[in-house]
């Protein structure tokens, strides 16, 4: 069943004239999918993310989340509980001074009794592996840890889907790995639908589906293997392909007999050594 469905979605920011930040978006994302969204700066990635949880509402067309239209203000709180959002800068989304108080912020807003909040906070923290830091001061954590706390804060609201707007952009490689592991695990184990906006092609490989946006339109849509074979289209948009895919391209050009859809180091090793 489609959890996110957009039909003819278009969006214009006020005061930017006739420029469409999003235009003619027709999109259907099923429960349990792991979708990576790629695109150059200003292609509408973040705008699309904000459309999903009703922080922005369509100028034209329609966006449905779990059957609820984002155009109706009465639906907004139910939509935001169902579609949790994690932002780029970990410092600017942590509200409270201690880890557990911050994770509790969402459930507190939803008005649950204290015992239920406690249960959800402990559960969410153990899912992201931060239980040991429950009483720590939030500003003393590393970037990766802060993002994990932010994810826990969203998970504690028991959302159906998780929208991540470049959560790894400001992190060091280690923090990036931590966050990616958590996201993949939540998708696999908890069957949470994930929409992951990223600049890193390697991260998109973890997804089951890749969307590429350009100038507010979806230009490529498919599984990572299909999308990353479109070298020319991606280059024209100023995007890279994953390093291994690039290497495979070069090897094929040099006459090496390889299938075009090899994407990871392990696969490449297996093919080359067979």
């Amino acid at each position: 069943m489609a959890i996110i469905s957009a039909t003819g979605l278009g969006y214009q920011y006020e005061g930017y004239g006739e420029v469409w930040a999003l235009k003619d978006i027709n999109l259907s994302i099923n429960e349990g999918e792991f979708v990576a969204v790629l695109g150059p700066n200003g292609s509408g990635k973040s705008t699309l993310a904000k459309q999903i949880n009703a922080l922005l509402t369509p100028t034209e067309g329609e966006m449905l989340l779990d059957g609820l239209s984002t155009a109706d203000p009465l639906n907004h709180w139910r939509i935001r509980q169902r579609a949790g959002m994690v932002f780029q800068n970990p410092d600017n989304q942590i509200v409270a001074t201690t880890v557990e108080e911050d994770v509790a912020f969402g459930p507190e807003n939803l008005g649950f009794p204290a015992a239920e909040i406690r249960k959800r906070v402990d559960g969410a923290l153990s899912l992201v592996g931060m239980s040991a830091y429950k009483l720590h001061a939030s500003h003393l954590l590393s970037g990766g840890q802060k993002q994990r706390v932010a994810i826990a804060g969203v998970i504690a609201m028991r959302p159906l889907c998780l929208v991540l707007d470049e959560p790894t952009a400001l992190l060091d490689p280690r923090g990036r790995r931590e966050v990616m592991e958590i996201i993949s695990r939540l998708n696999r184990m908890e069957a949470i639908t994930v929409i992951h906006i990223t600049h890193f092609m390697e991260e998109a490989l973890a997804a089951s589906r890749v969307l590429v946006l350009d100038q507010g339109r979806i230009v490529l849509d498919g599984n990572p293997r299909q999308v990353f074979q479109q070298h020319c289209e991606l280059r024209a948009l100023g995007l890279d392909v994953p390093a291994v895919a690039e290497l495979v391209l070069e090897l094929r050009a040099a006459g090496q007999d390889l299938p075009p859809d090899v994407m990871t180091v392990d696969e490449l090793v297996a093919k080359l050594c067979s």
Binding site: N53, L55, W77, R80, Q81, G84, M85, F87, N89, D91, N92, Q93, I94, V95, A96, T97, T98, E100, E101, A104, F105, G106, P107, E108, N109, L110, G111, F112, P113, A114, I117, R118, V121, A137, S138, H139, G153, V154, M157
Partner: protein
Amino acid sequence: MFKSITIGQFLPGESLLHRLDPRAKFIALILFIGTVFVVQTFFGYLLLGIVLFGLLIVSQLPLRYFFRGLRPVFYITLFTLIVHFFMTKGGEIILRFGPLTVESDGVYLGTFMALRIIFLVICTSILTLTTSPIALADGLEYLMRPLTKIGVPSHEIAMMMTIALRFIPTLMEESEKITKAQLARGADFESGNIFRRAKSMVPLLVPLFVSVFRRADDLAIAMEARCYRGGKGRTRLRELLATPLDYFAVLLSALFLIAVAWSQV
């Protein structure tokens, strides 16, 4: 340079004072402030001093740390003292510096006022040092709740306090970063007179303000995405729980105030 800000400093601990309900502590503080103002004699201050010293011992706060924190207040007090010495007239003349005289009423009143300031700060410090900022904000929100009827936004005030406290370390880090960046560009924060130095703060403050506004914007969106819609219908992870001990603490503080006012010490 922002390290000297000690507002809201809290020393975690397990003492009796740490465990009291923030609301009880807040009411007790107000009663103690009342007591400071009704004291009329130096003997009264001695009595109050003994009680506060007893509370300090109970709180298990490190005394040296506690009194070092009072040092900035000491200068304000000294200023009050000097102004009173020279400006308040009456009684016998004790000292004479050319046209200036120090008279006995001035000495009396100056010392009295100085003690009053010191005791007020001691009372408040005991509260802030033994209560976590979050608990303090929660307690304040609860106590101000009756005022919402006359339009005081009690929840919003408490939320603002919490967020301000949350961002103090972040902004301190940021101001250090900007200072270094401006130093690398040849900025000079050290030399010159006070006006030059104040002016040299501009390249630090402008980027800091810009970043604060950006952060505020981001935070507002993030809070909205997490279903924040004000205090209505919001519950708390930690609910405030008043025990008989809390009532007892408030009762004792009230009795002390009444006793001091009654006996006119």
